[in-house]
């Protein structure tokens, strides 16, 4: 993937996190808006939040590590490792979500 595409996704996921993360926080902390958690859309928004936040954080880490350890092979190692970590966290997080909302 081109670097410009990676960074565009980084910014798009940033905005997705802003929306879905706000839903996550508001529905958890404001009593009057607790009903959001009962709807079908809440787990979906949480799933999007999980994916977006994992991409955003793993790409952010990649950027920092790539700048710390420059080199073509180290770049590949960093990207692959972080991709695997991200996927593992996404699958486990998704599994917890499905269990949590009794969809499993």
């Amino acid at each position: 993937m081109k670097e410009s595409t990676k960074m565009l996704i980084h910014y798009v996921t940033g905005f997705l996190i802003l929306v879905t993360g706000a839903i996550h926080l508001i529905s958890n902390n404001l009593v009057s808006l607790k009903w959001i958690k009962e709807t079908v859309w809440y787990p979906m928004s949480l799933g999007i939040f999980l994916a977006a936040v994992l991409y955003h954080s793993m790409n952010g880490l990649r950027v920092i590590l790539v700048e710390l350890f420059p080199g073509s092979s180290s770049g590949k190692i960093i990207s692959t490792t972080l991709f695997i970590i991200g996927v593992v966290f996404f699958i486990s997080g998704l599994y917890f979500l499905l269990v949590l909302f009794k969809w499993w």
Binding site: G14, G21, S57, I64, S92, F96, V99, L100
Partner: protein
Amino acid sequence: MSRKENKQGILGWLKIRGYSIEKLMYVAQRISGVGIIVFLLSHILNVGLIYATTGILWEPPGLIGKSVLIILGIIVVFHTFNGIRLVLAEYGFIVGKPERAVYPYKMTSLSGAQRLALYLVLAAFIVLLYFWIMVALNLLGW
């Protein structure tokens, strides 16, 4: 790194003296980002594992845990607002147009819309910080 290379390493990231406030924001964005990642990954594992093993839904923990969450909230708000400014800047919306360099030089990326956005970020941050402290004091039961 040998002395001859004269590379500053991470100290170069953290050096703020002599540069503009944007450099400080860059450092803060990085540190806050790493802090959020640490929380995020532990949060996913924590909530999921506790629920999967014991069937209890995660509750914000005691006083120390709550204080951590409160500080995290401040960091997230900062990272969000500054991130919006950075996206606008990096896609060239607020850094100004090319113009003739006439002495005394004025850098449009260090003034004008970008600076205004930076002050807005700081102002919004301070306002939200105030509300957040109110919420936090309430949470801590003061």
